[in-house]
Amino acid sequence: MFAYEFMNNALVAAAIVAVVSGIVGYFLVMRGQTFAGHALSHIGFAGATGAGLIGLAPIWGLLGFTLVAGIVMGALSERISNRDVAIGIVLALALGFGLLFLHYYTSFATQATALLFGNVLAVDRPTIALLAVLGAITLVALGIIMRPLIFASLQPELAAAKGVPLRFVSTAFLAIVALAVSACAQIVGVLLVFTLMVGPPAAAQRLVTGLWGGLGLSALFALIEAVLGLLLAYRTDWPVSFCIALLSALVYFVCLAVPRRARRHAH
């Protein structure tokens, strides 16, 4: 299996993306902004197909659109999670535009499935390099804002009183999410970014309540799901994204079923 270069490339790309997704996703879950993350990926779809229309590689359209959308969302409100309806409508509109762009650039249509559901087996070396750079930028930026991000996520009123620039922090965070979503979509597609960005952190938070433990476990879950998903796909000839989605759901529901420690304080 490792004799095939496409398989090696896929494993390396999936590993990079999984770790970044697991870590960024942890904060998405902590802030209750998972829906915003989902929406960013759909907006990215319009960007990717639009890029195709004007002769650019889809990744640049994906990156550009998600980044702008993330910054706009962050600037409009510090509590995006409460704007489900607005986000949902923009999400649907973005998918609609994606369809329109495909309609006018029919030769691009073969790539639509790859964009929507991912095509990790087609990843080449330059793409791996791009993913590594994207991942590094994402993690470094997250590291810079992590401390005020956690404070602002857990206690926004107090954070404001202590001088944390809430709007800047939430905008920067959504820009980071946009980068992670763009990377993640290369592996599992825009429709399935939840499998790596939400499933693993949500599962990890069921098991571990400490910050670093939770972050580590989230990244580990994402890594295991991505790599095992690839191996499972290799064995069964099922689509890779299906295998990763399956494992992600499996891990989440198993963690959900782990009984909480008996509540010691009933009051």
Binding site: I144, P148, A161, K162, L211, H265
Partner: protein
Amino acid sequence: MNAVELDRATLKLGDHLVLVDASFAVRGGEFIGVLGPNGAGKTTLMRALLGLIPVSSGSVRVLGRQPHCGDRVIGYLPQVRTVLPDLRVRGLDFIASSLDGERWGLPGISRAGRAEIDAALGAIGAHELARRPLSEMSGGERQRLLLAQALIGSPKLLLLDEPLISLDQRHQEVVIDVVKKVCRERGITVLFSAHELNQLLGTLDRVLYLGNKKAVLGTVEEVVTAPVLSKLYGTDIDVVRANGHIFVMSRGRDVERTDHLHDHHAHNHDHRHHN
């Protein structure tokens, strides 16, 4: 030096006047009960003391200085406590997030920070909350955790915005007793806002009553009287004293309990800002 001093201060939320020409002075170490109908500006006043809302006119001094964001001598327990229902974060990590939480970079607590958290939790008898996730805490436990957090950094002034809300009688008493004990020991000035006066009667030094864009500070005997409160509520108020309790009544109803008064006078109150 006065802990809090307003001199003909006017506070606005947008175009809406909340306090007009308010003047009063809170002395260092006093325990002040902050009362008044919904929308009277209790939260707005605290946010102004924190430097989150600019003063429109007049002057506001906190411990002799202009209010400014990030003032470390103020401990704050906000009223709108956004706790996501499924937040599985340990009490320790929750408090730790507020220690130097405004600095950039990776999170982490120093040995000294850890000791401060332990000391604060110890002061209110809540050591066991450090290890438990927030999602499994009762309202009373969360409130004690937040109170411990507000005590970190040895504040000189504590702003507690409705710390008794959604607590049962027993936990309300626990919170009041803890605040009273810790603040008396350390000489901390406390502004404690509440809906009901009676629970605080044995604890407070003076009462700050807000209403009708005005503020009156004085002893309970001076302030909680029919003429003063009628002015603040903008309607006829009776004050009934019975068995060591005080009831503030309007047309036969206890306004603190029913809280219906603001419906009769909606034009006086700011509904964008729940108090």
